[in-house]
């Protein structure tokens, strides 16, 4: 018997081969499903799907969402998706809205917040693989009076108790957290897909906190952390919404070590804690927050990366700005005047 036919005749060996398919190339497995009925049955079976996820634990990066500058709504693709693989999102017409956040296989879309504008968010949760879009009721923001800023996040409902590994939860229950600030305080509302409604609000007393809506939140442990807008200001703060206690905490950023802080971004550390990446001059400083009471935040500098050194083209350093962080992959994106590049924090 032909050796290749002998192997392809055994389900378990076909499965072994297909388990090694690169997860960041979805077309690879899709073509395998088109080979014959048996192969299709194998790759769509629950056993294979479970083993595939267990094997490739870090979810692959299929692309990124970007948003236009305020007041320039027509720049870029309609949904702002920049693919890095053969994947293309389904049902990508977002009705003039933009991706505000994405996590655990879902994308939160809405109207970009504008200062002094009507507090209308038009939020929806979109699954870019199935194309499903679920419109959410408006969060009850009008009762808060004039808003300074707001930001929002979507996440798997089991993030509360850490009961989910988030490898296959994109069709399960989800939460949407909206954090808003007025002059007097930041506060938060939570939408639960299970209840189908917005919860009571949580708030903390802290004056003049203003979110940068272009900075997505970071999920560290069971808390969502948002960075406040003015990053150069020594008064920059982190608003932490604890999903377990439903309370808001305000914590400080790491102390500045140099006079020139250009850009700061929240990250998740390798053990799931809160971290931050800060560009000071030409150095990228990585910090991690010690576990402990939030009133006494202790930051430890874990690493310093000389950006000039990892820059292969030896170009004159002009300016770096941190542009994004991917959960699970531990990759930072930094913007330079001449383009965007990525820094793999695992390798440095």
């Amino acid at each position: 018997m032909d050796p290749a036919a002998a192997v392809s005749g055994m389900d378990e060996l076909v499965e072994e081969v297909l388990l090694r398919s690169p997860p960041d190339d979805p077309a690879h497995l899709a073509r395998a499903a088109l080979v014959c009925r048996r192969w299709c049955r194998i790759v769509t079976g629950p056993g294979f799907r479970r083993r595939f996820r267990e094997r490739h634990r870090s979810p692959p990066m299929l692309g990124g969402f970007h948003r236009p500058f305020l007041n320039v709504p027509d720049s870029g693709a309609p949904c702002g998706f920049a693919p890095t693989a053969s994947f293309r999102p389904r049902n990508a017409d977002l009705g003039g809205r933009y991706a505000l956040d994405s996590r655990h296989g879902r994308v939160l879309v809405g109207v970009l917040p504008s200062v002094g504008g009507a507090p209308e968010a038009r939020l929806a949760v979109w699954d870019p693989v199935t194309g499903e879009q679920l419109e959410l009721p408006e969060p009850p923001l009008e009762r808060e009076g004039p808003l300074l800023s707001w930001n929002a996040a979507v996440l798997c409902a089991s993030s509360k108790d850490g009961a989910c590994d988030h490898l296959d939860c994109s069709r399960g229950q989800f939460l949407v957290v909206v954090v808003v600030t007025t002059i007097l305080s930041p506060f938060a509302y939570v939408y639960s897909s299970e209840d189908g409604e917005w919860s009571q609000r949580a708030c903390a007393l802290e004056f003049f906190v203003c979110f940068d809506h272009s900075e997505p939140s970071v999920l560290a442990g069971n808390a969502l952390c948002f960075i406040s807008a003015n990053q150069i200001d020594s008064g920059s703060r982190i608003i932490k919404y604890d999903l377990g206690t439903s309370r808001i905490y305000v914590i400080g950023l790491p102390p500045r070590t140099s006079q020139c802080r250009r850009s700061a971004m929240l990250t998740a550390t390798e053990n799931g804690g809160l971290g931050s990446a800060i560009v000071e001059n030409s150095r990228l400083c990585l910090w991690s927050k010690a576990v402990g009471p939030d009133e006494h935040t202790v930051w430890t500098q874990s690493r310093v990366i000389e950006l000039q050194k990892i820059n292969s083209d030896n170009s004159v350093l002009i300016s770096y700005y941190l542009a994004g962080f991917t959960h699970g992959l531990n990759v930072l994106f930094a913007m330079r005047l001449d383009g965007l590049f990525s820094i793999d924090l695992k390798s440095g």
């Binding site: 290749a4 036919a5 055994m10 077309a27 690879h28 899709a30 088109l34 293309r88 053990n271």
Partner: protein, 186 residues
């Protein structure tokens, strides 16, 4: 009594000598004999480890009726090479990094090892690795086959595996549409 005791001792000595041998002899389906390091065989193959522990290794050649001589030669070659290889820095660092997938990329020598195999020998080796419970060798060979499928159309994959297309045209079109999100570049 004395004689019996002596005989017992001799038996004992022979057994010890057998246990002390640091190789085992394997016999392919076509009767060829191969020697392989006992330590490597036990470490790399769950089936051979079980046979060694259970004492079912035959000094004159343990019969492996399902494996031809070419595949068995490759298995033995792999075991010997593995025994001599020092784990690379990449392997060590990836084993302590966060979120490590259970699979570790093939090492340079493993890549070279499977790259030089013919099409038929590669598939034969997959079967042999599977039969002998050699997880790492199965990993490396299946990884190679997966790489061979990269960028190939369903038609080309069928050719590689010698598979008949049992779909109707309509069925193919239906699945293609359902999977359109994955196929932008095709």
């Amino acid at each position: 009594m004395e004689v019996d005791k002596g005989k017992g001792e001799a038996e004992e000595t022979r057994k010890v000598a057998e246990a002390d041998r640091d190789t085992v002899t394997l016999k392919s389906s076509d009767g060829k004999l191969f020697e392989v390091s006992k330590e490597a065989a036990a470490r790399l193959s769950t089936v051979l480890a079980g046979m060694i522990a259970g004492g079912s290794i035959d000094d004159n050649g343990t019969d492996l009726k399902q494996i031809g001589s070419e595949a068995l030669e490759n298995v033995v070659d792999y075991c010997n090479k593995h025994a001599n290889s020092i784990p690379s820095a990449a392997l060590i660092s990836s084993s302590i990094s966060f979120n490590t997938a259970p699979f570790k990329e093939p090492e340079e020598w493993e890549r070279k090892f499977v790259d030089r195999l013919s099409h038929d020998a590669l598939f034969d080796l997959v079967e042999a690795a599977n039969f002998l419970g050699m997880e790492r060798l199965l990993d490396v060979t299946c990884h190679k086959i997966s790489e061979m499928m990269k960028g190939k159309s369903p038609d080309q994959i069928r050719e590689v595996f010698n598979i008949k297309n049992d779909y109707t045209k309509e069925e193919l079109e239906e699945i293609r549409q359902e999977l359109a999100w994955a196929f932008y570049d095709d």
